[in-house]
Amino acid sequence: MNMILSMIPTILMIVSPILITAIGGMICERSGVVNIALEGLMAIGACTAASCHYFLELAGWGQAGAWLSLLIGAIVATLFSTIHAVAAIDLKADQTISGTGLNLLSDGVTIFAAQILFRADRTKEFRVGMLSDRIGLYPTAYIALAVVLVAWYVLYKTPFGMHLRACGEHPAAADSVGINVRVIRYAGVLTSGFLAGLAGGCCVLTQTIQYTSNTINGRGFIALAAVAFGRWTPLGVTGAAFLFGAAQAMSVIATNFAFLKRLPSEIFNILPYAVTLIALIAFSGREFAPRSSGKPYDKGAS
């Protein structure tokens, strides 16, 4: 039991970045834009945060530098996500393609930036990332909790949230009552950029010592799956992110039990994906996605 308790901070460390990103992706889709660039935006945030933290540490900022780095990473990723916003909203481009383009671009940009800053294909290792508190939790766990609560409150308890959801369901109807679909969707995409960048920073500052080309390693796509699996609701997405995170941590937890350790370790590697497939099959049958998600809104056409 004690051992399970001691694993909770670990699970939260793995879950937090996925959860934060997934909430951003959810908000974006609820506004009517699919953002598959979450992976790339996380990479931008992670690379920026790792670089900033390295330099701030040199300047003697310590832990305060980690927080500032998180913020800068989130802001840079927000700026980067405007590319997707312009393509998807103003240019009415295919959102899958512009998202993919962003993912590919971020791969190159992060490595290129590292080349310029550190003359290497990775950022220089920082000394101390974010530290855990007395009960072993990293600040990222609290950030994730705050993000979920704020997202829930804004989406369901404020007029802005209702407008945002309307734009994802029926933009023409929203438009007809005077809601500016373009502004709302911009807000959705930029929020997802901010949160993905924040999550990238959380990832690199709590889990490793530097940014490399495989620091993000598919977490953005896992977050994307968590959005769909969580049925586009804050609570559902939180549950899905926990399921994925816990499934990943299983491979470590299992080594504490002799009877689980005897199983081939590959079983635990496929666990998160097997769980997703089983859950999707079990819960399929109804359409939960925002109805206009992924469809550009053309004012003149409707």
Binding site: S6, M13, A93, L102, F112, R127, V128, T208, S251, N256
Partner: protein, 365 residues
Amino acid sequence: MKKTLVVLLVLAMAFSAFAQAQTEAKTSDKPTVRLLTDATGIDDKSFNAAAWRGIVDFYGETVANPASKGKLYDVVTASSSDMYIPNLKNAADAGYDLIVVTGFTWADALIEVAPQYPDQKFMIVDVNWCSQPNVLEYIYTEEQGSYLVGLAAALQAKADGIANPKFGFIGGVPSSTITKFEIGYIMGIKSVFPNAEILDFYANDWGKPELAKAQAKNWYDNGVYCIFSAAGGTGNGTIAQAKEYRMAGKNVWAIGVDSDQYADGIYDGTKSAVLTSMLKLVENSTIDGLSKVAAGTFKGGVIEMSMEMGGVGYSKANPELKAEVITAVDAASADVISGKITVYKTYKEALAAGAAPAGLGALDD
């Protein structure tokens, strides 16, 4: 929409163009060489970096100032694995005296290209199954270096007065190569603590530091003294966790792999959470290969870079590694070279000799 795509594509192409450094080889009395790397390039702090260091050293220059780069030697990075064969052919057509590749991912491409250029000299590191008359293959005795770091960790624990220390090993993807690391490490520990509890874990991935970090925390919490990670980027997680715990005052250590990871583990001044590192000196292979080309003694075949040949070793960079430990490990190193200590390469042999516990995740091919 199309415009955006075009802009994105152009940008993407511009970036990949930066990654390519094309230079023509020129004739000179010194041999010319081209290093071909996978996508990680020569800044991977691992094989590629070491191979490049060896080449630059051979010409008496430094990595910071490679004056003859582009004249005598150069490097081409393959952005993806489908560029391996074209890059090999390009280099062979350009007439370099030696073409160097590192890592088993190049083996298939090299086996295909080498017979098409029978007069071209190639060398590859970490592969011993090419069997071409014009390919020189270098492999390493990782088990010997791993023995030393295991021994160092165990002796350090003993010097710290820890009665019954536990030790951990984190591997990337299980394979016969990683097994050599694990078996050597275990034998090193067991030479000091014959009954020490040794735990192992394979992340099945070279790029999942969060798993190594989770496992490291789990083990350190349960009384593990030191963890050796032979897991590429995954191992960064172990170092991160060891740093956090050392800063919090716990006496736990991580061990680095391939290159000296002392600097990666620094958390305060000269204090590093990386006690020592198992060094795999790939630079000595490129130096050896180039010397053979220069001397005209190049011949296809397999060369095993043992400890005796300066292929493997351990790092003494951490000032907290006790002097008596270094003395003892150096003595053991001499015994390994003289053959007094034999370190097994496979789990099967080690099991049969009772040198390793049953139930590990190590795999022999």
